[in-house]
Each structure stands twice: as structure tokens, then as C-alpha cells.
């Protein structure tokens, strides 16, 4: 908590540290006690909080949609089914608008991305200290509740989309077509020698633009959510600075939270739309 012996920078750092499980310096497995120890654990560690919250939110999403799908009726739909149908039709419309080929996987992919990312972003609206405080009562030091402020989560999603892109690119165009796309574009020449000279240049350009897709997907979501979370944390610091500033902070938090509703929805929508567009590009020759 900010009111204890923590300074502001410690408070911020505390809020930005994941609950990391991995091998400690002395060789034993356990949860890192400090941010430095968490960093030291290296690659073979896992963020328990990110995994927990993302799986919980994904589970909530799947549970309610599955419930709606199990009791689905072609007659007059109930409240839950109505809600799910509303989202599904919205996704279906987006997919029909941007995706021109035929692939049954794309729409469920878009649905999963949209709802899951939205729910993960939504955790940002929970006041920053509430869940860490509750976790503190159970002896858990670190608790980062917004999975989309963890690079691992956003890169996990982006790499998932990227793998499907590569898979379908090769499946639709063949390995030759895919490599051709990487090396024979955008510069072309009828002269064979010039064409051969163009290959490395083309490859450099196309490879960078290919890699930029998942990286931008992941970093865009991460950056937006991380910045939003940071502002919430900074506002929360004001609560310790006296009554007037505290009240001012309350107003600020409310304003930012209302504005943030727009951002979290928009980011989920952007992630979904770009995933659809990338899948479309993977299916089409260009």
C-alpha cells in the first residue's frame, strides 16, 4: 500500500511487478520476493498473476458464451443469448467486411480476441489498489491484475495471430508463393540480373514489414494499456497527498476511467480488426 513506508517510486514499481514464479538464485523454486529477483529468474519463470487473471477472464468469456450456445434457440432469444448474438453478429459483420476469403477459423478467432482482450483491458477499471490489497491479506506481495499490461500476454496473442498468418500464407500460396511474396516484391525487373540484385532488398523490406505486424499488434495494445494503468497509479498516489489533492485525484480517476472505457473497447476492436486484415492478407495474393 502506498500509505506504508513506500516512497512514490517504490509504490509505482511495486504495482508494475508481476507475481513471478520461477527458480531463485539459490536454486529453489518459488515466488520472487522483489522485482530484482523476478528479473533475475530469466526466461524460465512464469507470471502467475497474468496467467491467473487471463485464464479466469477467458474462462468467464467461454463459460457464458458456451451457456448461451448450449441453450441456443431459434425462437425468441433470452437475455444472455440476445447479448451473445449481438456480439457474434457484430464480429460476423466485421469479418465479412474485411475478410474476403473463406475460412471458418477467422470469425471465432476474431470473437476470441475481441472479447478476451476487452475483458483483460476491463480489469484496468478496477481501482488499482483493490485487488493487490486483497491479495496482500493472503500474503501475496505482487499482483498485477491487468493481463494486457504484461508484454507476455500481448505478445502471446500477437504471435498466435502471426503463426496463423504464416500457416495460412503457406497453405494458400504454397511455400514457393510465400517466399516469392517475400523476395519478388515490391521491386521487379524484367532483366534477370537486376531481378537477382533486387532479391535481398525486397526480402529486407518485406521481412521487416512482416515482422512489424505482430510486433505492432502486441506493442500497440501493451503500450495503451500500460500507459493507462500508469496514469491510474499516478492518480492513486495523489490519495496520499492530503484531502484536497485526494478529492481532486478521485475526480481525475473517475474522468480517466470513463475515458478509458472508450480506450479499452477501441484497443480490443483494433486488435481484432487488424488480426482479420492480416488473415485476409495471408489468404490473398498481392
Amino acid at each position: 500500500m502506498a500509505g506504508d513506508t513506500l516512497t512514490s517510486s517504490e509504490y509505482i514499481k511495486h504495482h508494475l511487478t508481476n507475481l513471478t514464479f520461477g527458480q531463485k538464485a539459490d536454486g529453489s523454486l518459488g515466488i520472487a520476493d522483489t522485482a530484482a529477483e523476478a528479473a533475475q529468474m530469466g526466461f524460465w519463470a512464469i507470471h502467475v498473476d497474468t496467467m491467473f487473471w487471463s485464464l479466469l477472464l477467458g474462462g468467464i468469456f467461454l463459460y457464458y458464451f458456451k451457456k448461451a450456445a448450449d441453450t441456443v434457440t431459434t425462437g425468441v432469444p433470452g437475455g444472455l443469448q440476445n447479448f451473445c448474438e449481438w456480439i457474434i453478429e457484430f464480429i460476423d459483420e466485421s469479418v465479412r467486411g474485411s475478410f474476403t476469403s473463406k475460412n471458418v477459423l477467422v470469425a471465432p478467432l476474431a470473437l476470441t480476441i475481441f472479447v478476451w482482450v476487452f475483458l483483460m483491458n476491463l480489469m484496468d477499471l478496477v481501482p488499482v489498489d483493490v485487488i493487490p490489497l486483497l491479495a496482500g491479506w493472503f500474503g501475496i506481495h505482487f499482483m498485477k491484475v491487468v493481463p494486457s499490461t504484461d508484454l507476455n500476454a500481448t505478445f502471446g496473442l500477437a504471435i498466435g495471430v502471426f503463426s496463423l498468418m504464416i500457416f495460412y500464407s503457406i497453405k494458400v500460396k504454397g511455400l514457393k508463393g510465400f517466399m516469392g511474396e517475400l523476395t519478388f516484391m515490391p521491386f521487379q525487373s524484367k532483366n534477370l540480373v537486376v531481378q537477382v540484385l533486387f532479391i535481398p532488398i525486397n526480402f529486407l523490406l518485406e521481412f521487416v514489414s512482416l515482422i512489424a505486424k505482430p510486433v505492432s499488434l502486441a506493442l500497440r495494445l501493451f503500450g495503451n494499456m500500460y500507459a493507462g494503468e500508469m496514469i491510474f497509479i499516478l492518480i492513486a498516489i495523489m490519495y496520499n497527498a492530503g484531502l484536497v489533492l485526494g478529492l481532486f485525484g478521485g475526480v481525475l480517476q473517475l474522468g480517466w476511467a470513463i475515458f478509458h472505457i472508450l480506450i479499452i473497447t477501441l484497443q480490443a476492436f483494433i486488435f481484432m480488426t487488424l488480426a482479420i486484415v492480416y488473415m485476409d492478407m495471408a489468404h490473398n495474393e498481392h
Binding site: G42, A45, I46, T50, T73, T74, C84, T112, F155
Partner: protein, 156 residues
């Protein structure tokens, strides 16, 4: 910010979620939506067909009405014709009856006339005889000139 195993955890859960969504959520939900869409389309086309049927039924009813009207006017015309026929027949009959009565009356009149003539003749004969008797009482015997008087009376 550490990149670590969480990345793979997230990647795997993402894959599982997408698979689950495809298999258990998207397919049945879209199926239901599709089915409802078809149901609505069927209902609409049925309504359209009903409308069309109504128009046809209306046309049919109009046709029947027209036929009935035609039949009615035909029947009316026939009735009128029959009535005028009956009237004509009655007229003819009455005329014939009148004719018959007239003939009978004439015959009776003729009879009366001949009877009256007979009487007249007899009276004339008697009158003539009585006249002649009165004339001849002085000069002629009635019995002696009877044949002459009779021949005169017969000429009347």
C-alpha cells in the same frame, strides 16, 4: 518487463480458447442464427404467398359474382319471357272463349229469330186468316179457300 514462459502460457491458452470458440460457441450460435434467418425468410415468403392467394381468391370471387349476376339476369329474362308468353296464352284463350261465347249467342239469337219468325208467321197467318175471314165472312167460306190462304202464308 520480463519476457518469460508466460508468453507460451498465453500463446497456448489463446490457441485453446480459439479452438473452443470455434467448436462449441461459433458453430452452434451461427447455426441458430442461420436457422432463424431461414425461418424468417420462410415466414416472409409464406406471407407473400398468402397475399398472392388472397388476390387470386378475390379475383375468383369476383368471377363467381359476375357469373351469378349473369345467371340471375338470364333467369330474369327467361321469367319475363315466360310471363309474357303466359299473358299471350291467356289473351288467346280469352279471345277464343269470347269467340265461342259470341258464336253461341249468335246461334241463340238465330234460334230466337227463327222462333219469332215462326210465331210471326203463325200470327200473320192467323191475322191474315182473321182478316180474310172478316173480309170473306161476307163472301167466302173459310173451308173452301183454306188451301189458297195456306199457300199465301207459306210464302211469308
Amino acid at each position: 518487463m520480463n519476457i518469460n514462459l508466460t508468453l507460451f502460457g498465453q500463446l497456448v491458452s489463446f490457441g485453446v480458447f480459439v479452438w473452443f470458440t470455434l467448436k462449441y460457441i461459433w458453430t452452434p450460435m451461427m447455426g441458430a442464427l442461420e436457422e432463424r434467418r431461414n425461418g424468417i425468410a420462410d415466414s416472409l415468403s409464406a406471407a407473400e404467398k398468402g397475399k398472392h392467394d388472397e388476390v387470386l381468391a378475390k379475383q375468383h370471387a369476383k368471377k363467381i359474382l359476375l357469373e351469378a349476376k349473369n345467371q340471375a339476369s338470364e333467369i330474369k329474362a327467361q321469367g319475363e319471357k315466360r310471363a309474357s308468353e303466359i299473358v299471350d296464352e291467356a289473351k288467346n284463350e280469352a279471345y277464343a272463349e269470347g269467340e265461342r261465347l259470341l258464336t253461341a249467342a249468335r246461334a241463340e239469337i238465330d234460334q230466337e229469330v227463327s222462333r219469332a219468325r215462326e210465331q210471326l208467321r203463325e200470327q200473320v197467318a192467323t191475322l191474315a186468316i182473321s182478316g180474310a175471314e172478316r173480309i170473306l165472312q161476307r163472301e167466302i167460306d173459310a173451308a173452301a179457300h183454306k188451301d189458297v190462304v195456306d199457300s199465301v202464308a207459306n210464302q211469308i
